[in-house]
Symmetry: C2
Subunit: 207 residues, 2 copies
DNA sequence: GTCTATAGTCGGATAGAC
DNA sequence: GTCTATCCGACTATAGAC
């Protein structure tokens, strides 16, 4: 049986996911946790501070859960497959929806922004590692800014997660299109040495 | 001088942008509009219905503002430039931030979702037109699902907008990386007919 | 159409008993 | 550490005067 602190952290994430940032309050969270509302303030001082702590707690938990699978990726193709799986799993019970709500809340609440940024950084750091392995060695390595691409990917993931909430079929199709585009880049990575050299020199001239 | 209805619509968008979805209420919106709080209910019935109306109103307005510039785009390069400009302009006083907040709110509030989806569709429809012109004719035309890509682009835009709120430098870098990637695809579009045919047949085999 | 006034609910936060 | 009780401000929504 989890202690009250942990119950509140879990309940904060669940409430963010199910009620959104506009629906979180000390009362809604405490109800979800099955504890008294005053304990939010006893343990965390304020609702904002609970949300910030929950953001880090949840992100660390979920990123750790995926770490081995990230580490096992050796090609762009495998990365795209993992992205697809991750999206499905996170949507059901995951951390990305909570992160999206915190991100929306952070636009107006400066006290939330640092924690949200830190939570996102945990994901981007993991992604950066994989992208480095998968892209930097290949022919496209010199043309992509891996840290930037990792951030862009995380941001896009959040956007797609939110989009899925209002148009699930559209989001699925959007995801498919991105996967197509990724596969297209993957093909450039997998070409023979001759064609690789041709594309690479062409890119150097053009960019 | 705008009438009260319009003042409320504009104030709703402004409040969404500055206070976020968690900060909107009949009172905050009415204060921003400089009118009485009860008028929200007289003119729109409820706060949700005002937000839904404002979503459509704002999206139509902004999309119309960009229509000519979208129509003038003839290459992927130009599209990327327009995207960059659009991002900067929308961030300052635009519709994307409000759309992002509504999207976050729609996850928990089913009454908001249809209007948000409709607002997003106005953007994706415009994008689809441009992408069709720019991509469908080129060598990559058969490998990309343009409607899907349009939706993915809109979603990514929303994600980046939210990301910018917590990490402006990171967002700028993410944007740069995507632009790089876009330019890379643009190069594939601009290759000579011989190289084009080689890449195209290679893609056909691989995908 | 616009205002005041108000009912009733829910919110953050604290004091003090146990 | 946890609870009850409470203050007080903000919220949605409506009734009714102008």
């Amino acid at each position: 049986m989890a202690d009250t602190r942990t119950k509140l952290l879990d309940a904060a994430l669940e409430t963010l996911r199910t009620q959104g940032i506009a629906g979180v309050s000390a009362r809604t969270i405490a109800t979800a946790a099955g504890v008294n509302q005053a304990l939010v303030f006893y343990h965390f001082g304020s609702v904002d501070e609970l949300l910030a702590a929950a953001c880090l707690y949840g992100s660390e938990q979920r990123v750790a859960l995926y770490r081995e699978r990230f580490a096992a990726v050796t090609s762009l193709r495998e990365l795209l497959d993992l992205g697809r799986a991750l999206h499905a799993e996170e949507r059901a019970e995951g951390n990305v929806a909570a992160l999206a709500q915190l991100l929306a809340g952070s636009q107006a609440d400066a006290k939330l922004a640092p924690a949200t940024a830190a939570g996102l950084t945990l994901w981007t750091a993991e992604l950066e590692g994989v992208l480095n392995r998968v892209l930097s060695a290949g022919p496209l390595g010199e043309f992509v800014d891996v840290p930037g691409l990792a951030k862009a990917t995380s941001a896009a993931f959040v956007g797609l997660e939110l989009y899925e909430g209002v148009d699930p079929e559209g989001a699925a199709r959007a995801f498919d299109a991105l996967e197509q585009l990724g596969a297209l880049v993957g093909v450039l990575e997998d070409m023979g040495p001759l064609a690789t050299r041709a594309v690479r020199s062409h890119l150097r001239k053009a960019l």
